[in-house]
Symmetry: C2
Subunit: 685 residues, 2 copies
């Protein structure tokens, strides 16, 4: 701290940061916070007009801190603060820290409005607190009028006062403001609010926007560009509050369902890259329209934006040809964090808005994985955390504060219902939950759009309109796991044809057998090939995890975080029964929703989080599964349910696993043709 330490001066403790210091009587609370590096917003620069610098005094005897804090230890409201209260209102107990001065020992609470909307970050950490330190600052100033004796330009006098009042040195100016500065200054009668972009990694402090008078709100966009879905948050940069969230399909789907087919589209079509770049940027502009309309926000008040994406989406969004990512050595054009103007990306925000992209970890482990890593923070804690983002390439991060390793595994699209005979996307009519009675082998299920199980009264009526149309990703996991638990399939994943004697649901299907899940229109069966597809996908994922565990020298993980939409809907128990994830106490497995998007939000609200993930990504060790000799061995072992060699002791405590049953693998021959080379799957969504 800069204030002279005088033990006779009052002691002030700021919460929740816990920073403390002694300050002379009469020091404005805002000044004390600044000197301690406690972030308290202020736009008006101490004029008691913006109301952003509110604090609350905590009353009581804080014995631990040796502070007796009281509202008597802060100055009474002066005329400026009273005027603010009268005109704009001030909640009970709140004070403007620019006006209230220290009159004795204080415990000061800086109210934290940052709450991640629970609905949009499904099942994720609600009430997460993100300490704000945004790259955008709003600064109200009063500029000297022109003086013929000191003919400094209008912009130059603006810079002088911004340096004088706010401490910005060597200020740059966004070029488009040159043409506007005179009108804005005159319209504001020489009182204007400047928006400063300050991120020393990107540029010198720069005036990016200017408004006449006091501008008291600014927004940012945090966006996760998934191959399938684009998700966006509109956030107040001054309070940290999410004011609206939305999502939309990635329109690039029309150029190719999965990543690899989009890369192929670029290679085949001269304008393919451009078309996909335009499509994704346009989708983001439309989503922005949507969240702005919902929140009643002018899109030109958006001043900053942060994006995460997998490497191919990242490159296409930036206008980079992703062809190199389609083949070894999977070279990224740029892996580090990208800073640019939003207008460079044709984003229709404020003309001076800035954009930040989180760094990519490797050619198949993108800025989305970096965002999830920032959000979940394996490197911030002691436990060995496995973070899995099951998109299509699964991105896997394993580590703790000592060391973090990362890889991607080519799981393919089976987990999302593709390559499954009755598979479909999660939509009304899709089966999402399955149970099989081990005695009768009869199933029951639930479909999206109905609250009832299929064996409950009224089920047929409840799905009369939507139908029962297919199996979505989460149910595929469950039905295969239940088939295994009920003995329909062996440890090796072979449907036991002998069971056909016990149940009419076991149907011959060429040289293999299927399981009839629902005898309607359409008929929904689980075929031997479906099971093979799931086995291939899960063993790819598990083999990747296993490699990382070997790198870390551990035989188990302490916690598992499942990121992504898929992770939000699957039941960890069934995932573990299948051997998709390693053995772990089920209570330590959690779905963390769109952790990548949460990471984007954190980087939007704090430059500290940008530096944090940039330095973390540099330290993460990247494992290229294709180059690891043991991958194939792990892969083969992982084809078994849950695994040929690895025990699942914690799972066994909670679930009765069937006795081992090995069948002649007729199906393996039938399904073998589909077991393509791994490289062929690489990069698929």
């Amino acid at each position: 701290m800069n204030a002279p330490l005088n033990i006779k001066d009052p002691l002030v403790l700021f919460m929740p940061s816990g920073k403390r210091g002694n300050f002379p009587l009469g020091t404005p609370v805002l000044d004390a916070a600044r000197q301690l590096g406690v972030y308290v917003e202020s736009v008006c620069g101490g004029r008691a007009t913006c109301g952003r610098c509110q604090i609350e005094v905590q009353e009581g005897n804080f014995a631990k801190h040796k502070i007796v804090s009281s509202n008597d230890h802060i100055s009474p409201k002066g005329p400026k603060e009273e005027r603010y209260e009268r005109v704009k209102g001030l909640p009970d107990g709140r004070r403007l820290s620019c006006s209230a001065t220290i009159q004795g020992d204080l415990v000061v609470d800086v109210p934290q409005d940052t709450i991640i909307n629970a609905q949009t970050i499904r099942k994720a950490a609600v009430d997460r607190h993100i300490e704000r330190n945004p790259a955008i600052q709003l600064c109200f100033v009063e500029v000297d009028e022109p003086d013929m004796h000191k003919p400094l330009g209008d912009l130059d006098r603006l810079k002088v006062v911004l340096e004088h009042d706010w401490g910005f040195k060597n200020l740059q100016v966004a070029h488009h403001l040159l043409a506007d500065v005179q009108k804005i200054l005159r319209k504001g009668e020489w009182g204007v609010t400047a928006s400063i972009h300050r991120d020393p990694e990107a540029e010198q402090p720069t005036i990016i926007a200017l408004w006449p008078g006091l501008k008291n709100e600014a927004y940012g966009i945090a966006c996760d560009i998934g191959s399938t879905t684009i998700a966006i948050h509109l956030v107040s940069l001054l309070s940290g509050r999410i004011v609206a969230s939305s999502g939309t399909s990635n329109p690039q789907i029309r150029f190719g369902e999965d990543l690899m087919s989009r890369v192929s589209y670029v290679m085949m079509n001269p304008d393919g890259r451009e078309a996909m770049t335009v499509a994704v940027r346009q989708a983001i502009n439309e989503l922005t329209d949507k969240v702005c309309t919902e929140a009643g926000v002018d899109r030109h008040d958006i001043l900053d934006s942060v994006f995460v994406a997998n490497p191919i989406m990242h490159h296409l969004f930036l206008g980079i040809d992703p062809t190199e990512l389609g083949q070894a050595p999977f070279a990224l054009a740029v892996s580090g964090a990208v800073h640019c103007a939003a207008s460079d990306l044709a984003l229709d925000f404020n003309q001076g808005a800035r954009t930040y992209l989180l760094p990519c970890i490797a050619g198949h482990v993108g800025a989305d994985a970096a965002g999830a890593t920032l959000s979940e923070g394996p490197y911030r804690q002691d436990k060995m955390m496995l973070l899995v983002d099951v998109g299509t390439n699964a991105e896997i991060v394993l580590g703790n504060r000592n060391r973090v390793v990362a890889a991607s595994s080519p799981t393919g699209p089976a987990f999302e219902g593709a390559e499954i005979s009755s598979g479909q996307r999660a939509a009304p009519g899709a089966i999402e939950r399955v149970r099989i009675d081990p005695a009768t082998l009869e199933p029951k299920f639930r479909v999206i759009g109905s609250e009832l199980w299929s064996d409950e009264d009224g089920f047929a009526e409840s799905v009369a309109d939507i139908g029962v149309t297919g199996i979505c990703g989460s149910a595929i996991i469950e039905v295969v796991a239940e088939m295994y638990l009920s003995g329909i399939i062996s440890e090796d994943g072979v449907v036991d044809g002998a069971m056909a004697e016990r149940s009419a649901r076991i149907l011959p299907n060429g040289r293999t057998f299927s399981y009839l899940l629902h005898d309607g229109t359409p008929r929904i069966t689980v075929t031997q090939n479906d099971i093979r597809a799931i086995q291939l996908a899960k063993s790819a994922l598990y083999a990747g995890v296993k490699l990382l565990m070997e790198k870390q020298g551990v035989d188990h993980v302490d916690t598992i975080s499942f990121a992504g939409a898929f992770g939000s809907f699957i039941d960890p128990k069934y995932a573990m029964v299948l051997g998709l994830i390693p053995d772990c106490d089920l209570s330590d497995v959690k779905a963390v929703g769109n952790a990548a998007g949460t990471g984007a939000l954190m980087a939007l609200l704090s430059r500290d989080h940008r530096r944090e993930i940039e330095s973390t990504v540099q330290k993460i060790e990247k494992i290229e599964t294709a180059l690891e000799p043991k991958f194939q061995e792990h892969f083969v072992h992982a084809m078994a349910l849950p695994n040929k060699v690895d025990p699942f002791p914690k799972l066994a405590e909670q679930v009765t696993l069937p006795p081992r049953k090995v069948l002649a693998d007729a199906a393996a021959e039938g399904g073998g043709g589909r077991r393509r080379g791994r490289e062929g799957r690489r990069g698929r969504e």
Copy 2:
């Protein structure tokens, strides 16, 4: 210097800088230069392929420096240098300083190729040496190939090697390169040349261009945007040589001849500002085409550009509405130096090219005056220098190393032949020189396009095609001065009607008299009103100079520099006879040509000159003539020839001034209606 000082180590002296130091045996000469801060260009980074780092050893006993220097004290050519010599040639005595190492005491000459083309900088300092330190650097590097084990992006590995080989930290990248970096690296087989823009006042070091392989040339543009003429130099940034120069009329003339009428055009026409901005930028692009074609240069090799202009041209070029400059308090939108991308100004150079505009001094003293100040450098010397740029507003700078003051004076367009009954622009047929015989009152003159005086044999034939069409600016000065010297007009500028008895060339003209200069078609006369216009213009200029002299507390100036085209053509003697400039030894009056353009060139070639003029402009005291109570008094005194009160002793030593002759000022009544308020003239070209 950084090398350990060891007196046993060889001593190396670099010329012309005079920097010296001791270096261990075997130190490459280039490294020694770098350690001493001697600027030696190098693109290839010591690979002996670019040939930019050439030096020469001076042989002999340099007793003053206690150095015996010899080519034996430098290593013989190694294989790399020999290869360069064989393939590209090396002039006699030249060595590549990256390869040649120190083997004994040396005097090393760093050849200076910087020569300002004498033809383009008319009558200006030829062979001016500008110490180079350009904002653009070319750096050849060899980038590591992609490695799946260390999946750093291509661009990121480029940054790593640029930091390692060239020391650039926290490098930024021009956004458009993201899409190109992979192709360029592969095309260059991982050897590429990056262009770095390094000007800490503007931005962090930034990669603005990238080429496969070794790129060994880069260019810059230095441009003076005058109200009438745009002048441009195309310059090699690696050698400092001007490779082509050109000029063109400012196309904004079609919107208004003088500055004030262009401001009016903006005020009257909603799209006026935009139209004039487009026009001037387009003209610069066309001029660029012209110089590039002439020099065989690809315009995309232009990486930097520097512009000077008067305030209104400056604002229109930047796309700023100049309306505020048309009225008190003449507020500039921006007065400080402007850094931006050339593409911000629609300049069609390399996509990543940068632009720098010199600072403006005041609302009427522009970046052109700053350029002239940088070129002539009154602040660099002890003598009291008067620097006058007679455009239309005359921009006046007076000072020495202790103090510099500046002002503009509203001279109006009379000096350029406007407002003169027979006035015309300098073009074939225009009278450019005039003498009047004091005995006979007969004139002789020369016209542009003929080498003969009008009283010489063959004159009529020599002008048969071009005619004698009018009087240009330089001749107006001469004819009025000659009329005064021959007694045709009085000290007060009144044509003496009594002289009509002596010469038929004195013609009655209403209540006043005219002088018949040429009795042809057209008839060319100098009217009383013409003389009044010149008197008004010259007294405005002189009154401004006088104010500055008073601010400086001097009664005379030591030297006078006349900048601008007008300054290049007028005869200082006649200017002084008219009292346009203060008394001074005629040998200390010089024309310096387009000093503003020379200043732009200096700022293009050296960032040090940018800093120099930026800090100088901050220190220059600006005098607003309109606010000075004594201006009117000086103005009235200056109406007399040469001046009512100020003596011209040095002029009198060289020219016989006529005895004082005061006539009744009948003309003053006639001419009074034309003596408009000063504000009405302000801002006119």
